[in-house]
């Protein structure tokens, strides 16, 4: 049985975020380099059909940060769910290089684990870390994201391959899920069918919601930022860690739906995927010990190193004047 491979989240930083960072750094933070909360968002993975070859091309598994990230009342793009994270800006490139990234990473992973064990909440499952150094004079921004995800040992395996959702669920059921999530977008949810009617509930109500439901009719769902056919998105990892830690007895085998249909498919097919995941025995020995975590984002060359956004072509007044002929 193949090991489930999760598609890592990719950061997508919209230029307004860097503009906002510039103002925030100059007007509010100044030389203060304490961590600040920021909010990002992700939505279901999208794929496009290449009109020339007819193949589906999946777009990235993106977590986007926009200019509102520092604000309390940010306006989310439609169908997306918010994710809170920690943002730390360093004053010099030397500080940025010298920062103890392992400590920063572990502190975020600890916070996630604490929210699982103590609060039994899924609200912080996708918490992320962003460290930056802003070279304001050159309009260059060095940044590095980390999306901590707990490593399951032994790894999750999938019984069969991932299937299209309409092989497992009826059309009506999928429409019902779509409508529920359309009015009330949520990153993680539970699905049950009681007397022919499909119901959704937050993951926190696992015990009551699934009390009367035989295990083969239980389904775990999550809004999947990945669009790759056989790779569920990164957020599932921590959801699985949550379920194993909080409900160890009943979660060694799970049916999971990767929800990818924010809109009803017109004449196309449902994009969501369903798979039955299982974890070999021997995992739940010490359920409350924090597992190891991974999740630093790789750079353009595929190495573990920071990325850089060079906004000089779009921000530097002299260069803008050059191209405006």
């Amino acid at each position: 049985m193949p090991i489930v491979q999760f598609a890592p989240l990719n950061s997508l930083v919209e230029p307004p975020f860097w503009h906002a960072l510039t103002d925030f750094k100059i007007d509010v933070l100044r030389l203060d380099d304490t961590a600040v909360p920021v909010t990002a968002s992700y939505s279901a993975g999208r794929s496009v059909k290449d009109r020339e070859t007819g193949r589906e091309i999946s777009l990235g598994c993106n977590l986007s940060v926009n200019g509102d990230a520092y604000k309390e009342d940010l306006q989310l793009p439609p169908h997306s769910v918010p994710v809170t994270g920690i943002f730390k800006n360093f004053n010099t490139i030397e500080d940025f290089k010298a920062a103890d990234k392992t400590v920063l990473f572990n502190s975020v992973a600890d916070e996630i684990w604490k929210s699982i064990i103590e609060d039994r909440s899924t609200a912080q499952l996708s918490r992320f870390l962003l460290i930056t150094f802003a070279d304001l004079k050159k309009y260059k921004y060095y940044y590095w994201f980390a999306f901590p995800a707990f490593v399951a040992k032994p790894a999750w395996v999938i019984d069969d391959d991932w299937k299209a959702a309409d092989e497992e669920f009826s059309e009506d059921a999928l429409v019902a899920i779509q409508q529920d999530l359309h009015t009330n977008p949520r990153p993680f949810f539970l699905i049950r069918t009681s007397s022919g009617k499909l119901e959704l509930a937050p993951v926190e109500s696992y015990d009551t919601f699934f009390a009367e439901v035989p295990s083969e009719q239980r389904t775990i769902g999550f809004l999947d930022p990945s669009a790759a056919p056989s790779n569920p998105g990164w957020p599932l990892r921590n959801l699985l860690a949550y379920l194993r830690a909080v409900h160890p007895a009943s979660t060694s085998k799970l049916r999971v739906i990767c929800w990818r249909d924010t809109e009803l498919p017109g004449e196309g097919h449902w994009r969501s995927r369903v798979g039955v995941l299982s974890q070999a025995a021997g995992a739940s020995a010490e359920a409350h010990a924090k597992p190891g975590a991974v999740g630093w984002e790789k750079n353009v060359q595929g190495k573990l190193a920071p990325r850089m956004a060079d906004l000089a072509p779009m921000m530097d007044p002299t260069r803008l004047a050059d191209q405006a002929v």
Partner: protein, 377 residues
């Protein structure tokens, strides 16, 4: 010079009055109210579009505070516009497309012509040797090389862009820290580049990409209301496949050659204090929109008259009646046709459709950016 020009535009924009009277059928221009109505329609029908508030200090008072501009994020752009340069060979490859739901009938008048349909195939010289022969290969004899060579020559700013694509290595602090993560995590999927298989893709289509990777760029597309020109105006912010922002010259690769550097320029985005974005200059929007609207209007009126005559209207009417009904106040020739005094008998094309049509027009300027999600219907 550019700065002075921008100041001038800003002043002109400030001084120009807000259009009050509906003129969309006569001039192709719309009022802010109509912009909001058309935007509401677009956002309802195609939920990828949504309203944004923008920077509060830049809010325009003639638009509702929470409906300053429309935005859609992550619009895919699979190929560069330069790869779409057509040859004479595929001139006749046209196909009629019908967007049934959009105009609510299968009437022929609603069909759009898709040109160059068989283009991907005609590139395949092995499969279609006959057609390739018709192209005069002046310099280099090989038919296939002639076509793709010409395409390669057309690509715009290609050299500069590919050089700019890889950031200077000196600029990136040398701090690869492989030891951050102890071992390879077996449950992490390999980096998912949108890989295209080599079949069916000509080298010229993949352009600068190495190893047959499709460079899937994404764009954030904004539509604002331009007070001076009284039309919507489109703005683009692009990202490459690694999600780093595109430079202006890279954005121009996605603009059809007729428009790059002429109608598409980098301007300060009106709803942000600092942001710069590529924009299609709206000076010709009104006249183009007028032509398109006139043509569509004719079809819509005929269809409505036909439906009224047949008497099978009620169901459709109810469905459409949900939309804010606005009647154009002008007295153009369309209104002469709709002379019957009935209330909502023959109204012609309603202004709600304005942005849907507008997107189709924009799609001709940026052919590879799929702004026109409306074709999905």
């Amino acid at each position: 010079m550019h700065a002075i020009q921008q100041q001038y535009w800003a002043v002109r924009d400030y001084l120009s009055p807000v259009l009050k009277e509906s003129k969309f059928k006569e001039h192709g221009r719309i009022t802010p109210e109509e912009f909001v109505a058309a935007g509401d329609f677009l956002a309802y029908k195609f939920p990828v579009w949504s309203w944004e508030r923008g920077d509060a200090s830049k809010a325009r008072d003639y638009l509702p505070a929470d409906k300053q501009y429309l935005v859609t994020r992550g619009v895919p752009c699979l190929r560069r516009a330069t790869a779409l340069a057509y040859t004479d060979a595929d001139e006749d490859a046209e196909r009629l497309l019908s967007f049934g739901d959009l105009s609510s009938t299968g009437n022929e008048a609603d069909e759009w012509v898709e040109t160059h349909t068989g283009r991907a195939n005609t590139h395949d010289s092995a499969a279609n040797p006959g057609e390739i022969d018709e192209i005069p290969d002046a310099d280099d004899g090989a038919g296939d090389g002639g076509v793709s060579g010409a395409m390669g020559g057309l690509s715009l700013g290609d050299q500069g862009a590919s050089a700019g694509e890889i950031p200077d290595m000196d600029d990136i602090p040398d701090m690869e820290e492989e030891d951050l993560e102890a071992a390879e995590d077996e449950a992490t999927a390999a980096p998912t580049k949108p890989v295209a298989d080599s079949e069916g893709l000509e080298p010229c289509e993949v352009e600068v990409a190495k190893g047959n990777l499709l460079q899937v760029r994404t764009y954030d597309v904004m539509i604002t209301y331009d007070k001076y020109y009284q039309t919507p105006r489109i703005w683009l912010i692009g990202y490459d496949e690694n999600r780093t922002p595109l430079t202006p010259s890279q954005i121009f690769q996605d603009v059809s050659a007729d428009h790059a550097f002429k109608t598409v320029t980098i301007e300060p985005f009106p709803h942000s204090a600092t942001l710069q974005a590529a924009s299609v200059h709206p000076c010709k929007h009104a006249s183009v929109m007028k032509k398109v609207i006139e043509r569509m209007n004719q079809g819509v009126i005929e269809e409505q008259q036909a439906r009224r005559a047949s008497g099978g209207a009620p169901v459709q009417k109810d469905k459409r009646g949900k939309w804010l009904f606005r009647r154009a106040s002008g007295n153009g020739k369309d209104d002469k046709i709709s002379a019957p005094p009935g209330e909502e008998d023959v109204e012609g094309m309603r202004v709600d459709f304005y942005l849907v049509v507008f997107l189709k027009f924009i799609a001709s300027i940026v052919p590879t950016i799929e702004v026109d999600s409306t074709t999905a219907f």
